[in-house]
Symmetry: C2
Subunit: 695 residues, 2 copies
């Protein structure tokens, strides 16, 4: 049991004095900013104070404490919502960049963040990183009684309940705010646990503003704190001792008592931690200030470091974040941007020297990759098919549409060179969309800024953007489609492509058609949306089928790919469509690739088709093999806009092996079909026998 309460207050005061003195001499004046820092102290360079029992001779220093090689380091982070999830990823990238130890991340998340981060880490496959999730919503009742004014909301307060929320056998943990960036190896921070005395349970850096001194403005009444108080953006917690000491009771008592005279917490958990420390100062181990360089409003952080090598952890603890005012903010910002735009795939590097069980699926993947034949002309295709792309679902804030029985989500995929299509698409499709974007980490930030500066896009919360990070030379078109499809939340999906603009009425019309055709009652059908194209770059979109037909007759519009590949859409029977008043059935034929509306649980796209060619055709074969009716809708249409060929297309169209590989992949696809559907699949093989040009 830790000493507690009034009877030991005198001893505590003495200990505090001692701590303050040690702190002054060893921590380069951290606890007293006003005094000039002794020059020689700079030699400590952010290192912990020497153990008074050590052999601190004149020519040597104590070895820089390092945790045992390969020790598993424990880190806890509370994270809620779309924006914080993006922040956590940047924090984790900086941590992984410098780390040399295996890590176990304990993520306390709401449902949104869990969904995002679970997918992300599952697909990231970083060696020697283990992830555990904890349900923040279950912890809410423990802190929701505390009135709080801080921008972090309820989630900030959850750091208080970590000793009971984390596994009972977890003895030590580093707790981090989502807005910190590492500039050093986290093992050096972990090593500071070794300096805790028997009574110390919390390691904290002093607060780097005058907030707790209560002199920032008139009538400013902060929560009680020791001097400047401590900042809780970076915490070292001895969970074992906290549990023994009855931490839960302790903080609840303190909070309850202070809330008798104070209306609410201003800085969330930090106010309560400080009130406890004020009462029980022996609990705290002050940490060198460089482990939490705070860029808060009114920051005094410049007093903490004197050179770049001092900096260990930057804390963007202002609601202004990167726009905060500090003399060296440009340098800090560069560090932050470094990791924001850093290619996360590069962090998949093995932590050699520390054998750890590989991430789930990684071993299987390694085996499959090892079996590939590098001399195979289709090697790139096969490797691309096996590539597990890092996926960040709902990259931007997103509100799922309220459940409606006939609702339909537009599903598409794109890369950066088609981002300009989004505004027009939003104007044409007022319903929910699920879009997969194939981007680098840096492009994802460019995309974020693009959406934020677009009035059209930033006001739409029913469009979900799923970032699939680039890797490999081929555009993984069907993997992207599958990501977007898997994230659609309505019962129906419209499987479109990004270069098509739907008729303005299409969203309403599709929902009405779904209802009318009673697709909901188990009818297995694919509703075909006829596709057209314009070759004119400037183009006035038809507002009705009648107008569309007029443009068709005038030669301003064509049926899609009429000039190069009419087979792709011929079965839609455009002649019949002209006259049709009601939906009509059509039959599958070889190479048919219409745009369709199907129930969300439709077959997935075949990921073997990467790059360009046959990717949609194979999907429609699959629909037909599973006996989906094909029903053409008489009032539905989409129009393809012209564009220059994308880089991804042009790189492979000219490749001599490309066509050969595509043929090999098609053959393998048909073999798989026969295996799965037996004699019924024969018709697809027969259709294939007739030689044709490329799709």
């Amino acid at each position: 049991m830790l000493p507690r309460g009034r009877p030991r207050a005198l001893g505590a005061a003495a200990l505090l004095l001692l701590l303050l003195l040690i702190g002054f001499f060893l921590f380069r004046g951290d606890l007293d900013y006003e005094r000039p820092r002794p020059r020689g102290a700079a030699a400590f360079d952010g290192d912990p104070p020497a153990d008074p029992g050590g052999h601190n001779g004149s020519d040597c220093i104590l070895p820089r404490p390092r945790p045992p090689k390969c020790e598993l380091l424990q880190v806890a982070i509370v994270c809620a919502g779309h924006n914080s999830s993006r922040d956590v990823i940047t924090l984790v990238k900086s941590m992984l960049f410098y780390r040399k130890n295996p890590l176990h991340l304990h993520l306390v998340t709401d449902a949104v963040a869990r969904n995002i981060l679970e997918t992300l880490f599952h697909t990231w496959m970083v060696p020697a990183v283990r992830i555990s999730f904890y349900n923040a919503d279950e912890l809410k009742p423990q802190v929701s009684w505390i009135p709080n004014k801080h921008y972090s909301g309820l989630y900030g307060l959850m750091k208080l309940v970590l000793p009971s929320a984390l596994p009972p056998d977890l003895a030590r943990v580093i707790v981090l705010d989502t807005d910190v960036t590492f500039a050093s190896n986290i093992a050096e921070l972990w090593a500071l646990f070794a300096h805790f005395s028997d009574k110390q349970v919390i390691g904290l850096v002093e607060n780097q503003s005058d907030w707790y001194l209560g002199n920032l403005w008139r009538n400013h009444r902060p929560w009680p704190a020791l001097g400047r108080g401590f900042n809780t953006g970076v915490i070292l917690l001895r969970l074992d001792r906290l549990r023994q000491a009855g931490w839960e009771q302790m903080w609840k008592l303190t909070a309850t008592r202070e809330l008798l005279t104070l209306p609410a917490t201003s800085l969330a958990d930090q106010d309560i931690f400080n009130a406890i420390i004020k009462e029980h100062p022996w609990l705290v181990q002050p940490l060198p200030c460089v482990w939490n360089v705070q860029l808060s409003d009114h920051t005094l952080a410049e007093r903490c470091y004197s050179e770049a090598s001092d900096l260990k952890v930057i804390h963007w603890n202002s609601p202004k974040k990167l726009r905060v005012k500090n003399k060296h903010v440009e340098s800090f910002r560069n560090l932050y941007l470094t990791f924001l735009e850093y290619d996360g795939n590069l962090l998949r590097r093995e932590l050699f020297g520390c054998p750890r069980p590989p991430p789930p699926g990684a071993e299987q993947l390694q085996r499959a990759l090892a079996q590939l034949d590098e001399e195979d002309a289709c090697f790139e295709f096969r490797r691309q098919q096996l590539t597990v792309h890092r996926v960040h679902i709902t990259f931007l804030p997103h509100k799922p549409p309220p459940p409606q029985p006939h609702d339909v989500t537009l599903v598409a995929q794109l890369s950066m060179d088609r981002v300009q299509m989004l505004e027009a698409l939003c104007r044409h499709w007022p319903g929910p969309m699920s879009l997969a974007l194939y981007l680098t980490d840096a492009e994802a930030q460019q995309f974020l800024r693009f959406v934020e500066t677009s009035v059209v896009l930033s006001t739409r919360q029913d469009v979900a953007y799923h970032v699939v990070y680039r890797e490999g030379p081929l555009y993984p078109i069907n993997q992207l489609r599958n990501v977007a499809l898997a994230q659609a939340l309505t019962p129906y999906v419209f499987l479109s492509d990004i270069d098509f603009l739907p008729a303005y009425s299409l969203y309403d019309y599709l929902r009405a058609s779904i209802k009318e055709l009673e697709l909901g009652s188990g009818r297995k059908a694919a509703l075909v949306v006829p596709a057209f194209e314009t070759l004119h770059y400037r183009f006035s979109f038809p507002s009705s089928k009648a107008e569309l037909l007029a443009l068709l007759d005038a030669g301003s519009l064509h049926t899609f790919r009429y000039h190069e590949w009419p087979r792709g859409h011929a079965p839609t029977d455009y002649a019949r469509w002209r006259e049709a008043q009601a939906p009509y059935h059509v039959q599958w034929a070889a190479d048919y690739e219409p745009y369709v509306v199907v129930p969300r649980d439709c077959p997935r796209y075949d990921p073997r088709f990467a790059g360009f060619g046959w990717n949609k055709v194979a999907h429609v074969v699959e629909l037909d093999a599973r006996e989906y009716e094909l029903l053409v809708l008489p009032e539905a249409f989409v129009i393809h806009l012209p564009h220059a060929p994308s880089l991804d297309i042009s790189r492979f169209r000219s490749s001599p092996t490309y066509r050969d590989c595509l043929q090999a992949l098609k053959d393998e696809f048909h073999q798989d079909l026969s295996r799965r559907y037996g004699a019924a699949a024969l018709k697809y093989l027969t259709a294939l026998q007739q030689p044709r040009g490329p799709t």
Copy 2:
């Protein structure tokens, strides 16, 4: 003088033995790979051996040697050609990322590398980095007599002459190969100078292959070396002592003697360094192997490191470079790719704590930036105009065209979304081109791969690609044009835009016209190339003026921007052009923006026009103000291909402040015109009085 020659050979042998023994016990078995490494030795973690005179108590170690804070570290690199220049930049990025000290880089370069690197560092403006250049061509005679079979060619050998080539007052220098990547702070390497004994002059890491043991294959006869010999990818040189010791004579004698029996050096300078060390072993201070982890063919590097934190410098010393075989090559590759794609702008961060004179121009720039008003609606425009973009000229190998009196270079600029235009452009324009590309560091690598995989592009050595690195939200169109223009090497330039394809005959026709019109003899004229456009994405290019006129009559082609902004090209007088058989004069009119051929020394574009609008118009005003004749060529034409609006355009077209700013910039441009041309500029102001729509 250093001890030399036979009489001291016995003493030398004893010293060598001692060195080997110390090396074995302290360098983790670096000098003897075969023996199992004692487990405890891992604690050295790449640190230098303890000074035997130090207080090496049981509970403490010697402080990790660090150079004094802010000490200027000296680094020398030999670099020649386009590809090595790209390598050096990646090396420098890795060095800058981890460095905390000011650096002085001594670059021994051929003319190509000097041109590239001088421009790069001048525009990079990294604080606390000084650059000096040394002419490699002048050093050639000193080493060209040595027959050499290594892939580095003559330039590898130049490391031998650094003691005389570098300034006489330079006492110590770290010498690096262009194919090394830092994974640590170079100051730790510099600190190893402190461990040199009085006699040691060269710090080297042992060679990590069996090459010098001579047992790799039958009849393999390497140069003489101590054991496995040393690798010269990373060298610590005591230049002062080498000069005193008569280094020049020493290496020349050794090389001459060995070349009596050996036909040539196989590994360039490294063979000669090893032969000298074999003869004078006391000269060498062996360095911990982690400072030069060699991924050569037959590498044994895996024996050097046991965990990731050991690695300090990776050396890609195989002609295969990244494709080398090593168990951990994926990790090393990731480190390399990290810096290859790292945004170099982020390395402009201030080295605070070490006040150094700012890079040339930086102070002036800071002042100008500080004077900008953040509340000014045109703030972004003004800041973009002041931005100094990092420029990497001739990013890819380039052979300047042989000088011809009437030759003309096509000048244009583009970003990644127009790279697909390059192949078509190459087919239409067989002459030299100077193209500025606005890219991120990562995109530059994507671009490199694009060119390398394109047969059309990779066979053209007369196309110079100049990478201008992205920074800021506006597309700096006129800054890009100025970069491309400044790098054109022919007497004339055709100032075009990337979306235009020239008539197949245009290059020949322009040269003939220049000759015929006697532009060379000081005639100040701009030859106008009439511009057309197609709105059709698929389009068959006319092979003659007659064919073009037929398409024009058929409505498949239009004069450029006929529908939106006819004023831009109206003065070209297309009606007259139809009939013209000879060049004809036209007069300037407001908003005229033709594509022109001018002498290379023409006025530069006004960099204040960033983003889109008025950027060419202002240039043509300037040509007219300087009294260039405007002569339309009767057989010349270019055709604009349709494309989706670029991201850069769409972001700002919708901006409400954009038009206001453009107007403000136009007004300021006209004020400047009046200042420079007085009353003559009045006509431009008058023309402006008539209100019109945007350009």
